[in-house]
């Protein structure tokens, strides 16, 4: 009986932490995931032929587990987050997540052929909030910087903001979200986001 319980516990534990490398340092994590995804894209015939659905599924499987979307949505909502009900928070996070994944897929499809320069992390081992810098090198133009803001959680390091060329995604959605909430409330924002997502998925 005790034996069985131990096995059961082990199984549950394995499901609770499905992501490999949760003890991995944040910079190593970013590097591994980026290289893995870029290689997957380079090898996959469907994605190379332009299959957006396949690309999204790769991102869902490999990249998403390392993002904290609830935190991203909370930061983008600012003060309106506290005014949202649990149900609204859930819907907002889902819709925002869908939108970001689509945008990310488009960006990846456009720029996956570039070279990456992974910068070593300059942080003390005790820090729980760090920024990991990656530079995308392109001949003839200034390199594009990608900064991942990451926080240490019980299930490993999680990304809560991405800055591309100095533009923070979270900060950029703040004004849009605030304007929409002011004009048509939190439910209005949920409606707008889901309408946006629907129109995008119909296009492809």
């Amino acid at each position: 009986m005790r034996q069985l319980l131990r096995v059961l516990l082990f199984v549950v534990g394995a499901f609770a932490f499905p992501v490999a490398g949760q003890d991995m340092a944040p910079d190593a994590l970013v590097k591994n995931v980026t290289l893995e995804v870029v290689e997957l894209i380079a090898k996959d015939k469907e994605i190379r032929a332009g299959s957006r659905a396949k690309l999204v599924s790769v991102i869902e499987a490999k990249v998403l587990p390392h993002f904290n979307f609830a935190a991203m949505t909370a930061l983008a909502m600012g003060q309106n987050w506290r005014k949202s009900s649990p149900e609204q928070k859930k819907r907002l996070t889902e819709e925002f997540r869908t939108l970001l994944v689509r945008t990310y897929a488009s960006a990846l499809a456009a720029y996956s052929e570039q070279k990456f320069d992974f910068r070593p992390l300059r942080a003390r081992p005790t820090e729980t909030d760090v920024t990991v810098n990656v530079r995308v090198l392109q001949p003839g133009t200034q390199p594009v910087t990608i900064d991942y803001s990451m926080e240490k959680t019980a299930s490993g390091w999680k990304v809560y903001d991405v800055m591309v060329g100095g533009v923070s995604l979270v900060v950029n959605y703040r004004t849009e979200f605030a304007n929409t909430v002011r004009a048509s409330g939190i439910d209005g924002l949920i409606r707008d986001l889901s309408a946006k997502n629907r129109s995008l998925s119909e296009k492809k």
């Binding site: 945008t103 488009s106 456009a110 003839g140 390199p143 100095g166 900060v171 849009e176």
Partner: protein
């Protein structure tokens, strides 16, 4: 006659202003949105189709050479701006880029300097003014040129005035080169503008905020003091 036009124009501005969200960084939002609509229409009917044709007709390799040629012509003043900002090493880097690319790179069409480890920089007079302590001032949308601010607009004026392309004669050649440069730039941005279209709920707001963030980051060369989240 003139009074009617003036009345119509002010009415357009006033009605435009009524739709603003009262963002303190963008006091002329109504006016800006008008110029923005004009730019969007211009882009839709002329610039974007031209850029698409350009991409279809010219191979990527050739477009990259054309891009390099114009990029090289910009390096001397990028260097000047680095000097004005007190970044001597970066300025020397930019002038060395120009020297190597203009000669060994065959008038700039090959970016040999990047292969030698001399990185391309992004500087202009707007950034120099920012480095000297000038704030951005109100956000502006310039006809055809797009997102700007009062500070960056003055900077862009200087950039254009000092642009070496302006000295090229005959005028026909100069004009053709300016159109080619603009088309090449628009072609480079086709993907980015499609992504922007997908990502934004309100493209005007999204683009404005991205521009203001981007300029702030550029002024601090990618290391701006971190803004705290509430």
């Amino acid at each position: 006659m003139w009074r009617d036009r003036f009345a119509a124009l002010s009415l357009a501005l006033v009605s435009g202003c009524a739709t603003t969200n009262g963002d303190e960084r963008d006091p002329f939002e109504g006016f800006n949105r008008g110029v923005y609509r004009f730019n969007e229409t211009f882009d839709e009917v002329l610039a974007r189709p031209a850029a698409r044709t350009y991409v279809k007709v010219l191979h990527q390799e050739i477009r990259a050479r054309i891009g390099n040629f114009f990029s090289n012509l910009a390096d001397p003043f990028i260097g000047v701006n680095n000097f004005l900002q007190g970044k001597l090493e970066d300025g020397v880097n930019d002038w060395a880029r120009f020297a190597f690319n203009s000669t060994f790179g065959l008038l700039g069409i090959h970016d040999v300097a990047s292969d030698m480890g001399l990185e391309k920089h992004d500087e202009d007079f707007g950034q120099t003014f920012g480095r000297w302590g000038a704030g951005p001032g109100p956000y502006l949308i310039l006809p055809l040129l797009g997102s700007s601010t009062l500070r960056d607009g003055v900077g862009t004026g200087l950039d254009i005035w000092l642009d070496p392309m302006g000295d090229i004669r005959p005028i026909n050649l100069r004009n053709s080169l300016i159109v080619l440069r603009a088309t090449n730039l628009r072609a480079d941005l086709l993907e980015a503008s499609r992504i922007l279209e997908e990502a934004a709920l309100d493209k005007y707001v999204f683009q404005r905020d991205a521009y203001l963030q981007r300029r702030r980051s550029l002024i601090y060369d990618g290391r701006p003091p971190r803004e705290k989240f509430e």
